[in-house]
Amino acid sequence: MISVILGSLTIASGLMVVLSKHPIRSVIYLVITFFFISAMYILMNAQFLAIVNMIVYAGAIMVLFLFVLMLLNLNKEMEPETTRMSLFTAVIAGGTLFLVMITALRDTFQYGKGYVQVPVQDAGLVEQLGKLLFSKYLVPFEISSILFIAAMVGAVLLAKREKQIID
């Protein structure tokens, strides 16, 4: 029951991200969505990911978005208009995507019936994940640090003010 409530709240706040006109409200609704998703992770006994999701997504990435929003000082009249035609087309396209994916996964639905209770898993605990991460997935883990350095240097280089190049 609680997961049904959580799921519908997640979908509702995800809808509000897209529907709300003000970008800051979108950010707030997205943070709320991430909190609900974290709650679902806890429900599924993936505790490490729930914490990481809250710290990294809601804590770091969303604050970055908020910083940029405040920095650019956007007000209501700067908000670009969405035409009715594009909204209509996008809703049809998104609905079709939804239907196609639901239909494609219908066999999985048959499988999932009566699977409400699953054995308790310790796969999501820090110990298990750490053992996996530092043995089998050690090389991707190290490569991700190179990715972060590249992203950091790229962000600094892109956002740096260079008058000559811009003029």
């Binding site: 799921g7 993936a46 490490f48 920095l71 639905f109 999501g124 994940l129 990715l147 790229g154």
Partner: protein, 107 residues
């Protein structure tokens, strides 16, 4: 006797939520003209994928999917940083965050 964990809903419900979130994100990417909101919709789609991966990880007792979620979070952080800095540069050049601004790249 094996200890059971009640996660409250069957697999199909979680798949439904995840696909719905992904479609909502896709609709947002297609409709919104504001570049920041567009990036946020991409984050929403990434989170839908994460939710699906964690769901299957729980149902099949395999921790490797959660490692993939971890890497997706890493890539999402890098992507958000680069996307926002590109956005700041575009805003400095044209004083607008309309995604249509990039049509000027057409030549």
């Amino acid at each position: 006797m094996e200890q059971l964990n009640n996660i409250g809903a069957s697999l199909d419900f979680y798949i439904f939520v995840s696909i719905a979130l992904f479609s909502i994100g896709a609709i947002g990417v297609l409709t919104r003209k504001n570049m920041i909101v567009l990036l946020m919709c991409i984050e929403l789609m990434l989170n839908a994928v994460n939710l699906l991966l964690v769901t299957f990880s729980t149902f099949f007792g395999n921790g490797e999917a959660q490692i993939f979620v971890f890497f997706i979070i890493v890539v999402a952080a890098a992507e958000a940083t680069i996307g926002l800095s590109i956005l700041i540069m575009a805003y400095r050049n044209s004083k607008s965050i309309d995604i249509e601004m990039f049509n000027k790249l057409n030549g």
